[in-house]
């Protein structure tokens, strides 16, 4: 911005332009240094916790327990004094984190498949039919996203208990129960996002296919699905990450059969023992799927998140 300003000033006053330009260049260099410093500060602020996490994951638990901020020379260090892979090797020893990873994988993948399919059908209806109640339905869907999860949790838990006692239907601590729960959480955002993707596909394509005798589901499958693929993929990733990250419902509704990583990770710290180094190693393992998925589809997810946030 500074450079641009000086150029404009230089053109504006022909005679004194030389001096001004020189001063402008000095300001531009100063501005660039300031800019770089600010950028470095931002990146440092973002990255320091990650560096501390990585550093902690390579320390031995003995080194960490011996460190103390009050004793010079014994402060916790950035570079582990004796780097070790033990935390990664023993990550599953005290906490069954690998089982939890498997649970999370099943639940998140299940949520992804079910929620994306259901949302696609609903978005198709919203996009291609002006049915009475359409706007009311959208408002009803979106309004659920605004209410805190704790509101549903207690009656939902009672509902689960009642269904089990009355009909023998076990939903708590089962995959179907968790997938159903997370599907419903993911639906509002998924429906709205997929609808805006389907809205951007010209309706003439539907009509063309209809003239050729395609049924409505056939149109969705063969005409719209291929064109909306980027949107569907980003919605699917959103659903997966939602299931991977959820804490509140997982802390109440999952047990030993379905405990997810988001909750299981906390088990490294108990009243008796704090296994920080292992927890940091596990943290890295737990974040990897999310980071990989996200970088895989960064652009689509970002545009979706922004539009979703701005539209509600």
């Amino acid at each position: 911005m500074a450079a641009k300003g000086s150029v404009v000033a230089g053109h504006g006053h022909g005679g004194s332009g030389n001096r001004k330009r020189r001063r402008g260049r000095g300001r531009a260099i100063g501005g660039r240094i300031l800019f770089s410093l600010a950028l470095a500060a931002v990146l440092a602020g973002v990255l320091i916790p990650y560096m501390w996490m990585v550093s902690g994951s390579f320390k031995s638990s003995i080194e960490l327990q011996a460190s103390d901020v009050t004793r010079p020379g014994l402060e916790p260090s950035w570079i582990p004094r004796q780097p070790t892979l033990d935390n990664y090797r023993n990550v599953n020893r005290t906490v069954r984190i690998l089982d939890y990873l498997q649970h999370s994988l099943v639940i998140s993948t299940g949520t992804m498949v079910v929620a994306t399919s259901i949302a696609l059908l609903a978005a198709y209806a919203l996009s291609r039919w002006a049915f009475p109640g359409r706007n009311a339905y959208v408002v009803a869907v979106l309004s659920t996203q605004m209410l805190p999860g704790i509101l549903f949790l207690i009656p939902y838990f009672i509902l689960f208990t009642w269904l089990r006692n009355q009909f023998g239907l076990q939903l708590r601590d089962t995959y179907p129960g968790m997938i159903l729960t997370y599907t419903s959480f993911a639906l509002p955002f998924a429906i709205v996002m997929l609808r805006s993707f389907l809205d951007s596909i010209p309706v003439e394509l539907d009509e063309q296919a209809q003239i050729d005798g395609a049924s409505r589901l056939r149109i969705l499958w063969s005409v719209l699905l291929p064109l909306a693929r980027p949107g569907i993929v980003s919605v699917a990733i959103y659903c997966f990450i939602m299931g991977w990250n959820e804490v509140l419902f997982a802390s109440v509704l999952t047990g030993s059969h379905t405990r997810t990583v988001a909750v299981g990770l906390l088990e490294y710290i108990t009243a008796h023992e704090a296994r920080w180094t292992m927890m940091m190693a596990a943290s890295i393992i737990v974040s990897l799927p999310v980071l990989v998925l996200f970088s895989f589809m960064q652009r689509y997810v970002i545009s979706g998140l922004v539009s979703g946030a701005v539209k509600g």
């Binding site: 911005m1 641009k4 404009v8 800019f35 602020g45 916790p49 501390w52 996490m53 901020v69 009050t70 059908l121 209806a125 919203l126 039919w129 002006a130 049915f131 706007n135 339905y137 869907v141 309004s143 605004m146 209410l147 805190p148 704790i150 949790l153 207690i154 009656p155 939902y156 838990f157 009672i158 006692n165 159903l180 639906l187 509002p188 809205d199 309706v203 009509e207 209809q210 990450i241 991977w244 990250n245 804490v247 509140l248 802390s251 988001a262 909750v263 990770l265 906390l266 920080w276 927890m279 940091m280 943290s283 974040s287 999310v290 980071l291 960064q298 998140l305 946030a309 539209k311 509600g312």
Partner: protein, 336 residues
């Protein structure tokens, strides 16, 4: 959204070749209309049916059930036959809300805590997000990489991010205390995660996790501001602060309004950061409604009182949602 929807040609009406003979008798005409309606719109209702069922089961039925439960005395033994539990009128609400009682005092305190927490984190997140959005708005090498990197906190799972911050805030082995000691700001390690300091530790972590989202939204907003506005302001000799104050801020007003309102609503969801960093019971000065209600329900097994408190929270949220929707409509009118 409605303006876009109505701008498109309505597909159902645009469908070609639908036979429309008009029957003679009014009764048959009504029947015919119904049939035609079902043929036209029936598929739409079938298509939304699975989504409706899923959301009914998880959201609407529990919400209605919660209203009933909040007027009953339900404990661990009654929960299996909750519909036979005795009605207790407003007792649960009195127990949960009476400021002179133990629980009521905790509840109002938790409501204050979460409001205070939200005010600080949303404001700080917005300021930092705005600063970074402006910083990243001008081109430089590796800009897209930096834009990706600053999103890391936002996409990191909550339980991971807040576990790392819990580690950082440890008294004896933590990074924060180490730096404060080195700078000479403290002589003794500070206990961050217990007592009155706890809420500030959680604030720092939540700001770190929250500002990238503000930056993301504001970046998108900045890109919609026409460049010519700045160029003509420069010709008029406007300083950079004036450009920010009289161009950037007003042009970002609609985005800001949405961002702040969404953040306020989300704020009352606050649970993960407190639960992960401070555990089930963060103590009175860092308790939030979610942690309090969860404890009251699943540790004390006082389902009725827990539900009553969450109904009150819901009323607060509904009021906020109404404000939110009204603002949304106003913003859409402003854009169109």
């Amino acid at each position: 959204m409605p303006p876009q929807a109505s701008a498109r040609p309505e597909p159902s009406r645009a469908r070609p070749g639908f036979p429309v003979p008009v029957p003679a008798q009014p009764q048959r005409r009504a029947l015919y209309k119904l049939r035609r309606f079902l043929v036209r719109m029936g598929p739409a209702y079938l298509l939304i049916l699975p989504a409706v069922i899923a959301m009914l089961f998880v959201h609407y039925i529990p919400m209605a059930g919660g209203l009933l439960v909040s007027f009953r005395d339900i404990n661990l033994f009654a929960v299996n036959r909750w519909y036979e539990a005795p009605w207790v009128g407003l007792d649960n609400f009195v127990a949960g809300l009476d400021p002179s009682g133990f629980l009521g005092a905790r509840f109002w305190r938790s409501l204050w805590n979460v409001t205070y927490f939200g005010a600080v984190t949303i404001f700080a997140g917005y300021v930092i997000g705005m600063g970074v959005a402006i910083l990243l708005n001008r081109p430089f090498p590796l800009r897209s990489l930096v834009r990706g990197l600053i999103l890391l906190p936002y996409i990191t799972p909550d339980s991971v991010a807040y576990s790392v911050w819990r580690f950082i805030f440890q008294a004896r082995i933590g990074l924060v205390n180490m730096w404060l000691m080195k700078l000479g700001l403290i002589q003794e390690p500070v206990i961050w995660l217990v007592g009155s300091n706890a809420i500030y530790a959680v604030m720092v972590a939540a700001i770190w996790k929250g500002w990238p989202f503000a930056a993301l939204v504001l970046q998108a907003g900045l890109q919609t501001i026409p460049r010519e506005l700045y160029e003509s302001a420069q010709i008029d000799g406007a300083s950079r602060w004036q450009q920010f104050r009289y161009i950037t801020l007003p042009m970002l007003a609609p985005v800001t309004r949405m961002l702040i309102l969404v953040s306020i609503l989300w704020n009352y969801n606050a649970f993960n950061q407190f639960y992960v960093m401070l555990g089930k019971d963060p103590g009175p000065s860092a308790d939030v409604p979610s942690t309090l209600i969860l404890r009251e329900t699943f540790s004390t097994f006082n389902f009725g009182v827990g539900t009553a408190m969450s109904v009150v929270l819901m009323i607060v949220m509904l009021l906020l949602t109404m404000v939110y929707l009204r603002a949304l409509r106003a913003a859409e009118r402003g854009q169109a």
